[in-house]
């Protein structure tokens, strides 16, 4: 375990990557606003959530440095997300069926 290097060099990002991601986030925001105007029904919701998920992934990976952290952190995030998603699915077993 890497407990010994708790003060070790933290992977540094250049300023540039952050600006790039920011531009990407703005672009995605534009996409999601534009799509909302076009009424595809259920697909609009799915698209909106998909775009939001991509944006969140970028924030997690680059801004929050999840990409540079130990594997443990990534597993943690997966555990938390799984808990939410599975609870959500089970909850809907009560609402999407008679």
């Amino acid at each position: 375990m890497e407990k010994h290097d708790s003060t070790a060099e933290h992977k540094e990002h250049g300023y540039g990557i952050y600006i790039l991601v920011w531009l990407g986030l703005l672009a995605l925001t534009g996409v999601t606003v534009a799509v909302a105007g076009i009424n595809f029904g259920g697909i609009t919701v799915a698209t909106a959530l998909l775009v939001a998920s991509v944006k969140s992934f970028l924030v997690l990976k680059i801004f929050m440095h999840l990409g540079a952290e130990q594997k443990t952190f990534k597993i943690f995030v997966l555990v938390a997300l799984s808990f939410i998603i599975i609870s959500f699915v089970l909850l809907f077993s009560d609402y999407s069926f008679i």
Binding site: K3, Y18, F63, M64, H65, F76, A80, F88, Y95
Partner: protein, 206 residues
């Protein structure tokens, strides 16, 4: 100093552990809002038309503007950490202050949004709201609770970052010790992520 006092002076430091603690705390925040997102999903599923109609009363422009503000504040927060990593104290302080400014911008927008709604008589318990169809009442109930709770977290974030700004100025946060700033940054990014989901769900379902 005797051996015991000497040992006591050496403070245990674990940056990875500190970040781990903050990530775990973020999960609790995610789940706190998660419960509300569950509510939103069920009620929207059952009241699709009325959610549509109610959402029209929200101003998409202000919502989009607020989204851009928050995304930019995440950028400035990330840049403040990159700056301190490069020993650029004043730049880091600048970016942190900018983050706080943007956060205030967000809050001011929110304040105006809510005021307009209140002015139109659309708030929990109001006569106008109670006369609307049930789905719309639910929509606005969720709107106020979710954006309200989110706004509360923005305020907490502002306080946290302000503390970090002070610590950076004093030199407590520096090139060799900046995990506090990283933790505050993590918190702030989560506040941003929550808004990333709130935005389409309330403003873009027309």
């Amino acid at each position: 100093m005797n051996a015991q006092e000497q040992a006591a002076v050496h403070v245990h430091r674990d940056d990875v552990g500190a970040r781990m603690g903050m990530w775990l705390f973020l999960f609790t925040e995610l789940l706190l809002f998660g419960g509300l997102f569950f509510l939103y999903s069920v009620y929207r599923f059952v009241n699709q038309e009325q959610f549509h109609i109610a959402a029209k009363e929200l101003n998409t422009l202000i919502g989009t503007f607020n989204t851009i503000i928050l995304l930019t504040s995440s950028l400035t927060m990330a840049l403040s950490i990159a700056a301190i990593q490069r020993n650029n104290k004043s730049l880091s302080v600048f970016f942190q202050a900018l983050t706080i400014l943007l956060a205030f911008g967000f809050l001011i927008n929110k304040y105006f949004e809510w005021s307009i709604k209140f002015h139109h008589g659309v708030f929990p318990g109001s006569e106008i709201l109670l006369n609307k169809p049930k789905g719309e009442i639910l929509f606005f109930g969720l709107y106020y609770v979710m954006t309200g709770l989110h706004g509360l977290h923005v305020i907490i974030g502002v306080v946290l970052i302000a503390i970090m700004t002070r610590l950076t100025i004093k030199g407590v946060i520096n090139k060799d010790s900046y995990v506090k700033l990283e933790s505050a940054g993590l918190y702030w990014h989560l506040v941003d992520i929550i808004w990333i989901f709130l935005f389409p769900l309330f403003y873009l379902i027309t």
